[in-house]
């Protein structure tokens, strides 16, 4: 049951995404019937699933939502921006309710109620069958109306098909000369013995058919004893039947049917006239002319159609659920609790093919290695070469399986912005670009929090108040663009707002007040921008719901750094601010340069390396405090003796031989430094392994890997090394500049 529930919630997430996509398309002015159907289907599927799990809150809300969407579908209401807005809000509430049902979290009931009233206001005008129950869809009306459906339908369709005749129980009747009425109620023991009430009904039908040619029976099931789903014991017998046989059937023939089960059920035979019971209650054979075996399917269809009309056919649910994900492709769960992944089948097929080839290549190598003569040497080398490219392909294929478009996270940001807008009273449009850009799944999930925070910040701090915008000659509506793209093996995510830009004077003032920088510090614009990432920094005048609670951009930066990413800010006063996040495509594998420093083999991520070169001693300029700088083609940068910087040796490069090997490394904001190493060995792909799992964080080291010989090698955190060296040097020019200015 738990598994089923989990799958249901996963599907809910997918449906919600589908819903969000559809609604955004609608709000963009797209009004295709298919979009509307998709939106309707999503809500309908959630409702259907929720009903089978008895999630009443969810069902109740989804029902109202669905009714409103039905009006949209049938064209009774038009998808105006106002209506879409209500739907978007309803979607957020629905999403909350799904989370509520899943995690037992309380959701603000006022918000749900408000949204429901809005939805009911939309549907209230209609006079359709649906709309009639929508306005009075009070807390009780809907579930009573809705929930019992799977109860009296499911047992019927599975176990006791003849029950379907139920439909005509209260139907109009014509008098019939004394038909034989049989009522029978199976005991539990009947089912325990493996018998079935159905066999009895079929037996009765046979008797009827034998007595009169074309003789039919009419069976009605009494479900009144059926308890609610929660109390239902599957093995118990709750149903009883009342069967009307044609008058020609004799009591003996009829009684013979019950011979085998006389001890396992209560049965009674009466002639309609004898008991004084009005035959009115008994429908004539005519309305249901088919024999019992045929009646069931026919009526089941009728029943299903009738139910479908009322939008509550449980049978429709799996269909819709199966259709929507297929269209959605691999989509992430909102807040996945269980790691599972839906993968395009051809990606798995590709992988299978590659593995097949690998096995063949391995066999080739094995057979070659048996003949040890030098003639096969060449072939062996070739085979190993092809095996190498195969493993590379397999690796790519596996990565492709783990890859997911960032769409899921991006679309969630629409809601973040909507909510931020409603809290701040600003009007902001979020446009998305590059949602199809694929990154590793682990990364997709970890992007949610930092992006949420940055977008809230953009709305709260970046975009100015409406009056200010108009005064500045900008459109009243703010605009934020969230985009993703691949750039040289990394993913670049940018968040660009057209707000007021960073108020550097105020940032600096705040930073000084909070003792983040020294009062006499002279900082570049870039450095001031970066102050907003400092721990404890907040320029918010007052603590609002959105920001100023102490959890600031420093957390964002930490989150991005821990993903191996970098953040850069670009801000133009009056024009807006752009945050650029550069992240690796995966957290598992990295292209690295193998170097030796302090006698240890280490890896420097290729993405950080700009160039490598040999330098002469005369290129090095020693600063008074003992640190060195180097000028490369006019670019001045600090020289970092790597071994010493990591505390592995005390020898300074000044005492080293005349030629030093350096790696010029760069961080995201473009700051460069030169790492002095002893040797550059190789360039290779390495699998990233955590050190922190069983140890602590180490300065200058981001992770570790295992080399071909089984030894552990450290992966350097080049930006951290640069930052410490640059920070070390930068304060000095600043002070000098300050001194000169004074």
């Amino acid at each position: 049951m738990d598994d089923i529930l989990r799958i249901f919630f996963q599907e809910c997430d997918e449906q919600l995404e589908e819903l969000e996509r559809g609604l955004s398309a609608l709000s963009d002015g797209e009004s295709g019937q298919e979009t509307i159907n998709g939106v309707f289907r999503a809500v309908h599927s959630i409702k259907g699933g929720a009903a089978s799990f008895g999630l009443e809150n969810l069902v109740r809300f989804a029902h109202v939502f669905e009714s409103a969407l039905d009006d949209l579908r049938s064209g009774r209401i038009a998808p105006t921006p106002d209506i879409i807005k209500i739907f978007l809000k309803a979607m957020d509430v629905l999403s909350d309710l799904v989370v509520e049902a899943r995690d037992n979290l309380a959701v603000d009931p006022a918000r749900a109620a408000e949204s429901r009233i809005e939805l009911e206001a939309i549907t209230g005008r209609g006079g359709t069958a649906d709309a009639t129950d929508a306005p009075d869809a009070t807390d009780d009306a809907v579930p009573q109306d809705f929930v019992p459906v799977p109860l009296d339908f499911e047992p019927v369709s599975i176990d006791f098909e003849p029950i379907a005749v139920d439909f005509d129980f209260d139907g109009p009747a014509a008098p019939v000369p004394a038909p034989l009425i049989v009522t029978f109620r199976p005991h539990d023991v009947l089912y325990e013995r493996g018998d079935d009430a159905r066999n009895i009904l079929i037996g009765l039908a046979d008797v009827a058919a034998a007595a009169v040619s074309g003789g039919d029976i009419v069976a009605a099931c009494d479900c009144s004893a059926l308890p609610s789903l929660g109390d239902l014991v599957p093995g118990r017998a709750y149903l009883s039947w009342r069967v009307v046989l044609p008058p020609e059937v004799s009591e003996e023939r009829c009684g013979a049917v019950f011979d085998w089960v006389s001890d396992a059920c209560d049965f009674e035979m009466t002639r309609a006239g004898e008991t004084g019971e009005s035959p009115v209650a008994v429908p004539p054979p005519e309305p249901v002319p088919a024999p019992v075996d045929e009646v069931a399917p026919v009526l089941a269809t009728v029943l299903a159609t009738a139910l479908a009309d009322a939008h509550r056919a449980p049978a429709a649910v799996p269909v819709a659920a199966a259709v929507a994900p297929a269209a959605a492709g691999p989509a992430p769960a909102r807040k996945p609790e269980q790691a599972s992944i839906r993968v395009d089948l051809h990606r798995i097929d590709d992988l299978m093919d590659l593995v097949g080839e690998l096995v063949i290549a391995q066999a080739a190598i094995e057979s070659l290695s048996r003949h040890g003569d030098s003639a096969t040497q060449q072939e062996l080398v070739q085979s190993i070469g092809s095996m190498q490219s195969l493993t590379r392909d397999i690796q790519d294929a596996v990565m492709a399986i783990r890859a997911q478009p960032v769409r899921g996270v991006f679309q969630r940001m629409q809601r973040v912005v909507r909510e931020a807008c409603s809290m701040t009273g600003k009007e902001v449009v979020l446009t998305l670009a590059g949602e199809e850009t694929e990154v590793d799944r682990t990364l997709v999930e970890k992007l949610t929090d930092p992006l949420t925070h940055m977008l809230r910040n953009a709305v709260d701090h970046g975009i100015e108040k409406k009056e200010d915008r108009i005064a500045a000659g900008k459109p009243a509506e703010g605009h934020i663009r969230l985009s993703a793209e691949h750039r040289s093996g990394r993913i670049l995510i940018t968040i660009r707002d057209d707000g007021g830009g960073i108020d550097r004077a105020r940032v600096l003032e705040t930073a000084i007040r909070r003792n983040i920088v020294a009062p006499d510090a002279v900082l570049t614009d870039d450095e001031i921008n970066n102050l907003i990432f400092a721990p404890g920094f907040s320029t918010a005048e007052a603590v609002s719901d959105l920001s100023g609670r102490g959890v600031g951009m420093d957390v964002v930066k930490q989150a991005i750094l821990s993903l191996g990413g970098r953040v850069a800010i670009h801000s133009v006063p009056g024009k807006g601010t752009t945050f650029s996040l550069s992240l690796p495509l995966t957290l598992a594998i990295l292209d690295g340069m193998v170097i030796v420093a302090g006698g240890s083999t280490m890896i420097v991520p290729i993405s950080a390396v700009i160039e490598t070169m040999m330098i002469k001693r005369r290129d090095i300029y020693a600063l008074p405090d003992g640190s060195n700088v180097i000028s490369i083609r006019g670019d001045c940068m600090p020289l970092i003796p790597l071994a010493a910087a990591l505390g592995l040796s005390d020898s300074s490069p000044a005492g080293s031989p005349d030629d030093a090997i350096i790696l010029v490394v760069e961080n995201e904001s473009g700051a460069r430094a030169a790492l002095v190493v002893e040797e550059i060995r190789d360039q290779t792909q390495v699998v990233i392994k955590s050190i922190e799992n069983n140890y602590r964080q180490i300065f200058g080291v981001s992770a570790a890997t295992i080399l071909g010989d089984g030894s552990v090698s450290l992966i350097l955190d080049a930006p951290a090394l640069i930052a410490s060296a640059v920070g070390h040097l930068d304060n000095k020019p600043a002070r000098i500049r300050a001194g000169l200015a004074a």
Partner: protein, 153 residues
């Protein structure tokens, strides 16, 4: 002391005994994952002196603690029987303890452990086995220091 009331409740624990220099210590055998010969480790920057370095244990990167340095005991020089005992703490942290040799296993009644120092120490107490004094190592303290120590660079 709470420590003693705690150990009074628990009764007999199987311990593995090992020697560092001339001294003998023991830890609960259930915390031991495996024992391996000592291999070359990779030096870690800014590591405390007692950390030998990092080692690859079937794809997982672990640190090895030189218990002789950690406990400030003179190690046996050039001992070919030096082994690394891989242990897992209650918090799930795995690390290696470099010891001079593994001696034996013993059932130790925790009630017999005599406390020798306060709670913060890595030595939980002493116990007599066959008239030899065996130190009971507090694994959680050792591992806690390994993981929790802030880098003092």
């Amino acid at each position: 002391m709470t420590e003693q009331t705690e150990v009074a409740d628990a009764t007999i624990v199987k311990m593995i005994m090992f020697a560092i220099g001339e001294q003998e210590y023991c830890i609960p055998i259930l915390s031991v994952r495996e024992i391996r010969g000592f291999e070359k480790t990779t030096t870690l920057p800014f590591a405390p002196p007692y950390v030998c370095g990092a080692i690859n244990l079937r794809g997982v990167i672990l640190t090895v603690i030189d218990l002789a340095v950690y406990l400030n005991v003179p190690p046996q020089a050039d001992n070919p029987r030096r082994v690394v005992v891989f242990v897992e703490s209650q918090g799930g942290v795995v690390c290696g303890l470099l010891v001079d040799r593994v001696i034996d296993m013993a059932d130790i009644d925790l009630g017999d452990v005599q406390s020798v120092s306060d709670d913060g120490s890595s030595l939980g107490g002493l116990v007599l086995v066959d008239n030899r004094m065996i130190g009971v190592l507090r694994l959680e303290t050792v591992v806690g220091q390994l993981v929790g120590d802030t880098v003092s660079a």
